[in-house]
Symmetry: C3
Subunit: 435 residues, 3 copies
């Protein structure tokens, strides 16, 4: 794997942006046909040779401490005002309906309706995203400006949803590598109608799968499209064996906004994925954030629960909850850009590349320096080496390759680019000086 | 145990101040009736139900590398000038006599007297505190202004002390807890006539004993009133078994001056007491000092000697030797304030509370997050959590409670108030999610 | 060993400067008579009682991954211009000839000569130092100003060198100590015609040998005069047993320029030599550098190769490659000063002294403080100790001498001068309180 040329990144950014636009509008939830339609879009966007397996786990299946909930589907849902006009309709925007609203057909006066309405007083034009998965209720979300203008009178609630035994749907793509260790890439497919969170994650995982399918792989890649929380828990419950093979992992979400790229460390804090992502970001020479693990956020909460404690970090741009558009109708195609999407793709691929190339070599000639000159690896007229000379990589690798230092360790101690070190190791291995 | 309300702290400060005023004037030393009278004052200040045991260890008893010295008592001691007038009298201030001065009745000219006089040229109005426990001599301490004005002529020395076989006196209060581990609180009772050093320590230990006697206790509290150095050595020599139970400890001294609260770490540096005191101070959100251990100061020198190496820190305000009034007659009731005394009390109690509550729990449902919603521990309508939400404490505790992290560890890593973490753990334990 | 008085340092600086001046001009290389003549100068500069052993290792001897090269000697070497005048002559400056130039007698036009000429365009008046040990070629080095002025026409190359089976020459001085552990001091003897690099190193090692021969020694000192790289490799190949005894080591080079003293850490980074040199520099209270190990530089590359990983650092002043005169004819007697040479000597001796005195004692009376007063080690009238009091050293040593802390550990934790700590330990050992 090599660095991705800028033109490729740019073309990928445009491609990602299109796919985000296609994925954004759907009404999704943690179960139901919205997820299935989303996975069908993913399937269409992939090369037919890439294997996408869709799984259905029945309602009431015990999964770790939880059980798979009833399946929820929406036929139609609207609120009509005293004058009979529909003032909110889920057909206009999926966020208008509180996600998992129970079927409800009623008429009630404004004061009785009020507890079922959700808006954002400090963002009067935006519709918030609200859910009630585990307590049966119903509600509508609307701009605060509209809410404040509601007239007294009787309102008609028409929520034609189903909440029935069914299943929870998720998908995975498995791309075998030459070795058994796995790199887990996961993204959540439950958020409706929002571009950055998380059409961007779904599009990114899809195009990463395509790119990884086309390359030689030391690691096996497992790419999950799962509903948040319950989907991660369901997958973990059904994949105890796969979990043991997870050597690296990334949760992908919020990859298209204009914020700086951000890596959130795994619970371990110093896993290879933590160091690889940090280095990939550092070597961009552009502003970025690396933040510590916390048990709040996305599915890293589950992968990094103490029983699993997987080396899974999270990559995205602006942090959830720290940009105003987060979890509102303002998370739309204006919030995301092809440039940010392409940049995120490049950083993720670079992180993957470092994980692929990171290994621990041993110098076969550790007593004194081996004579590099007779192996064609050292200039013949003696003069001073610059800090960036190829020979510096060779000397650092020979010096530190004592079986305890990985390529990442050496790059960090030598303060050299990872590729300088990894290329030096390849050159030394080619002449038998590393094993 | 809960946080101490401000009005309680204020009342305690006033109470402490009164007791300091009562304790200050006495002539004390490392042995003798001054200590016994001081312990009698402590006894009167305590609720009769609190057990205070007074011990007498005979002169010449071997204690570690030392032996218990002769007992010293003062009947009267004065210096009269050439005109026969008494110019210094221990009845006026106990610091006028070099502590442990041998009985001396003589007349001598000023030049011969001079080596026996001690004053502070740079503090001409203050009387210094001087001792000579282990070399038999005698002397007087006086303001430098007075010393410089002494007329030539013959002076009369009348030091009517006794230095005889007797005993060393100390006291302890034992407040059993529900478990065997001990919290050691010690203060020195040998310093005569000074308010901050150490009437404040004696008063503080007395009122802490009262407060602790009234509360449920996981730990056993052992509160020592001991002469400095030789008292600590004597106690250690006679309590080898108790020493093994010491899980936390604080040396208390200099608790009433206007300086910032200061914690001096134990020799270990990272014992629970070190972290608990640091956190208690940090959570005051007010200026304070935490300083490293050094083998100089008060009885932490003995408790932290390498053979014992106990987790015993020291709490006080201005550091000994770093305020001009230290070890002089200016260490009087003007130097101490009810506010500082009350504040010191609150910080010590808070440190104790953290030690009481610090423990290591294990998540009983470590694979994925347990479903908090069905246990009534998580809000039902999904929205973003603030950093200070109660749920944050729950998530952090669940994530880190893997049997290796204590409440202090979790509070430090999560950067949450200790009580948020400890309260979350109590809530989780109540529903069986921690063991 | 005690601190070196300033007047001694000054006299030593003058003495070193004279010896550098005597050593600088020689044509040296990694083999041949230049090295032998240099070692003869060293021999003459030493007291006859100091044993200097010269070794000759035959050409083609396998040494680690290398073989000893052919021996190179120069009879004469010059370049004559189209007018028959000699324009470059190695007799004028040894840098004019590319080191290890093969015997060559030819005439050729300027364009054909050009690839064999080396100069420094940005330093037009200086002659660079160039070598070609392991590829048979030839060449001349000259000021760029002169090179640019060369006329068209035919030039005569007369390089009367020999490159034949012979041997590689090095020398060592062994000064046995009372114990088996060794302190290795090494310097390279292959650089021709330059004062700082490395006549200064050769002179320094010579005078250090003299100073060390005159002192009691706990450590055994082995002082090597070796050609760079191949000499270190040859010595390592022939001294596998000695290597195991190396407890500390310093590579000495570039000791006379006006730059700040600089210590480069061993590969281990925290060996006693690393801490001793750092402390010696810190206690000078003058600007200095301590830099991390890198596998580029001088013979620390070999001593710190992963198979040996010896605790060998490097001491000098300006770093190689970071001053413009490095490896040019401008590295002459104007670049070095007696003051810098004397200062380097004092710092090295101080580093050695710390290594000599560093040891780990155990307090024989670890329970409580031992009573220092009755052993005459503590003032009798109690008053406050200053931070610098002798007693502070005693208290720190007693507190930390638990069998795990060396004198260096204690000096670092107590932030006291090394000698305060080591002197305190001597005093305590004298009364049986340390073992």
């Amino acid at each position: 794997m090599s660095r991705i040329p800028d033109e490729t990144t740019s073309a990928l950014g445009a491609h990602l942006y299109e796919l985000v636009a296609e994925l954004t509008p759907a009404m999704r939830s943690i179960t139901g046909n919205g997820v299935r339609r989303t996975l069908a879009t993913v399937r269409r966007a992939l090369d037919p040779a890439v294997p996408l397996t869709v799984r259905e786990i029945p309602t009431d299946t015990p999964v770790l401490d939880w059980t798979v909930p009833k399946e929820w589907n929406v036929r139609e849902a609207w609120l009509a005002g005293p004058d009979g006009q529909r003032i909110l309709d889920v057909a206009d925007h999926p966020l208008h309906l509180v996600n998992y609203s129970a079927p409800t057909y009623t008429r009630l006066a404004l004061p009785d309706l009020a507890p079922h309405l959700h808006s954002l007083p400090d963002r009067p034009d935006w519709v918030p995203y609200r859910t009630s998965y585990y307590r049966e209720t119903w509600g509508f979300c609307l701009p605060d400006r509209q809410r404040r203008a509601l007239a007294e009178g009787e309102y008609q609630v028409h929520i034609d949803t189903t909440l029935t035994d069914g299943s929870l749907t998720f998908a995975e793509i498995l791309l075998p590598g030459s070795g058994p260790l796995e790199f887990l890439l996961t993204t959540h497919v439950c958020h409706p109608g929002m571009a950055n969170d998380n059409a961007s994650g779904i599009a990114m995982a899809t195009l990463l799968a395509g790119a990884l399918a086309d390359r030689p792989r030391r690691l096996t890649y497992r790419i999950l499209f799962i509903p948040g929380t319950i989907g991660a828990i369901t997958w973990l419950a059904h994949n105890r064996h796969a979990v043991e093979q997870v050597e690296h992992g990334l949760v992908l979400t919020g990859l298209g906004d204009r914020g700086q790229p951000t890596y959130k460390r795994s619970r371990r804090g110093d896993a290879v994925i933590d160091r690889a992502a940090t280095r990939a970001l550092k070597e961009t020479d552009r502003p970025h954030h690396v933040v510590d693990f916390s048990p709040y956020g996305y599915d890293e909460r589950q992968f990094c629960s103490p029983g699993f404690n997987l080396p899974v970090g999270r990559f995205g741009r602006s942090q959830h909850g720290e940009y105003p558009e987060y979890h509102t109708s303002a998370d739309n195609m204006d919030l995301v850009t092809p440039e940010s999407l392409g940049d995120s793709f490049a950083i993720i691929m670079r992180t993957i590349e470092i994980c692929e190339r990171d290994r621990t070599w041993t110098n076969t000639s550790p007593f004194g320096e081996p004579q590099l000159g007779r192996r064609g690896l050292y200039r013949s007229i003696g003069a001073t080496l610059g800090r960036d000379a190829v020979e510096m990589g060779l000397l650092w690798v020979l010096n530190l390759a004592d079986g305890t230092n990985s390529m990442l360790d050496i790059a960090e101690r030598a303060d050299l680019p990872f590729d300088t070190v990894a290329d030096a190791a390849d050159a030394l291995a080619a002449v038998g000086l590393l094993t």
